[in-house]
């Protein structure tokens, strides 16, 4: 008699439900099955999502490295760039990994890091057709996280066609490159 069948192939580490909803809808549009995805997101509270991802990253990376030879598994991390931007945030994550004695990048590692800068609202505003500035922090939040479905679908379509409408935020271009290099569509 059948047993339940879920086995996770993609772990998503992100700050909050807006990150999660956007990523999941994007991944769905790239044919990832929801049942193959495990979400680990921040516990909530002002600023705590960023701290949660930063401190959880080395631990999740350790788990990923331990399991990757037994299970086909990818890791997606989403953390806002805030004032650090993509390079500053990557450097910070690398420092965090070094403190935990773990290499952030390894040959062939399926670990993609997306760093919306200033934050996810910057990307959403861009996908809504606005000209955005990544040093501007006050793009409006959506009424409800699920309202990003359209944005995620549009982004998946742009990625599929290979082009983002110019001028795209540099952090989104970086994320698109990261997805293409580190992950595979299902």
């Amino acid at each position: 008699m059948g047993t339940v069948s879920r086995q996770v192939n993609l772990v998503v580490l992100c700050e909050d439900s807006q990150h999660e909803t956007f990523l999941r809808r994007f991944l769905k549009a790239r044919n990832w099955d929801r049942r193959r995805i495990r979400i680990e997101r921040g516990p909530g509270g002002m600023g705590s999502g960023e701290q949660f991802v930063r401190t959880s990253f080395p631990r999740e990376l350790g788990k990923y490295r331990q399991k990757k030879n037994q299970v086909a598994i990818d890791l997606v991390v989403m953390i806002d760039g805030d004032s650090l931007g993509v390079i500053g945030r990557i450097r910070q994550l690398a420092d965090q990994c070094r403190e935990c004695d773990i290499d952030m990048r390894q040959e062939g590692g399926k670990v993609a890091i997306f760093i919306p800068t200033w934050n996810i609202e910057t990307w959403l505003a861009y996908l809504d057709g606005a000209a955005v500035d990544e040093t501007e922090r006050n793009y409006p939040k959506l009424g409800r996280p699920r309202e990003c479905a359209r944005h995620a679908r549009d982004l998946a379509e742009s990625c599929r066609s290979g082009e983002l409408k110019e001028p795209a935020p540099a952090s989104l271009e970086a994320a698109r490159h990261e997805y293409g290099v580190r992950l595979r569509d299902q």
Partner: protein, 378 residues
């Protein structure tokens, strides 16, 4: 969608008010009042769909009076927002419903003292001690009549061209599902269709038999989802097991073995729970149903909880207007707690109070479930 519930003098719910969202998770310690909230919703819905009387044991029996109050009246209020169609255009209408129940000394009788429905703050229905005044959709006076005090007179109003708002409200209340899944006691056989899923969902097969007729388009989607969830599951079917009786069967077609079927009571509790959870998510889609579920994760394998929560979160506000759940489970607490959680706790004098979990301090390291595990949520 339900926006607010107010109760007074019902178990620990004294002058109690809770605001509900599209997706709400009720959290709190044992005895904090979570199940009481669902019991009130169940009672109001069954009273308003006309399937129960006020004194029925699962509605408002005398034992639901707050013991230490010594008062015999109970009051309930609902604020509900519903889309109502008028001449081809849809308007979002705020409804307010109020029910006052009085119990006789000794608990032998109870009656509805007052029942009021208003839309946009204007009256649609008023019953005072059995004297009913109806109002038309434009709030002008309609007919008056006398009604039985022990049941909802609103539930007895016949739909008509000038009471579309009242009818819309009553119809919505009839579609609300309030249940605690008890998969071990699901009956396999259904002698008839059941429009309403019971409080413990033991009539799941009969309800499935009903929704199969009501929403056949969704069955393929349910089957497709269940095939992913339970290895080898092929389909659910209702098989003749008597003159009018149908048994709910689960067919398996696993690679390398002969296809076979099992009765619903021959599969595991967890598999029954998964079938019911996905049936609730899929078969109520686009049916204007609100779901109130008590500890839906019961019996379900840990790996299966988050995918079902994602299904619910993705449907909520779209194909499913509203889902309210109670749980103690870390998966639900961590997934929904911060943004959708309402903490129920017993304050001074033992009455239940609510607070948003957004107000519970999170330091970015401890998960909410860890705060709950340590009792630090209060």
């Amino acid at each position: 969608m339900f926006k607010r519930l107010y109760c007074n003098n019902y178990r620990g719910l004294v002058n109690f008010e809770i605001e509900l969202d599209e997706l709400t998770l009720l959290l709190g310690r044992n005895g904090s009042g979570k199940t009481s909230v669902l019991d009130v919703m169940f009672a109001l819905c069954r009273l308003l769909d006309g399937s129960a009387k006020v004194t029925d044991s699962s509605i408002f029996p005398e034992r639901t009076l707050t013991r230490w109050q010594g008062r015999k009246e109970q009051t309930f209020e609902l604020d509900v927002e519903l889309d109502v169609e008028f001449d081809g255009s849809v308007q979002c209408v705020p409804f307010t419903y109020r029910l006052e129940v009085e119990h006789e000394e000794g608990g032998r009788k109870a009656r509805i003292n007052r029942e009021i429905l208003a839309a946009n703050g204007q009256p649609l229905f008023r019953s005072d001690r059995g004297t009913v005044q109806l109002y038309r959709d434009d709030h002008s006076d309609g007919p008056m009549f006398l009604a039985d005090w022990s049941a909802s007179a609103l539930a007895r109003v016949q739909p008509g061209p000038d009471n579309r708002m009242l009818t819309r409200f009553a119809d919505f209340m009839g579609r609300v599902i309030v249940c605690s899944l008890s998969p071990a006691s699901f009956a396999t056989e259904a002698a008839e269709e059941s429009e309403r899923l019971g409080r413990d969902a033991t009539n799941f097969a009969a309800w499935y038999r009903h929704v199969l007729q009501e929403n056949p388009g969704q069955v393929a989607e349910l089957t497709s989802e269940l095939r992913k969830v339970i290895v080898g599951l092929d389909q659910l079917s209702l098989v003749k097991a008597g003159l009018d009786v149908r048994a709910l069967m689960v067919s398996f077609a696993e690679e390398g073995s002969k296809p076979y079927s099992l009765r619903l009571d021959e599969i595991s509790d967890g598999q029954r729970a998964l079938i019911a959870l996905y049936a609730l998510a899929k078969l109520t889609a686009n049916q204007d149903c609100a779901l109130f579920l008590d500890e839906p994760e019961n019996c379900v394998a840990l790996a299966e909880i988050q995918p079902w929560l994602m299904e619910i979160a993705d449907s909520c506000g779209e194909s499913l207007p509203q889902v309210v759940m109670c749980s103690h489970h870390p998966e639900l607490i961590d997934y929904l707690g911060h943004e959708n959680g309402i903490l129920l706790s017993r304050g001074n004098g033992g009455v239940t109070r609510t607070s948003k979990l957004k107000d519970v301090s999170a330091d970015g390291v401890l998960k909410l479930s860890e705060l709950f595990a340590c009792g630090w949520e209060q």
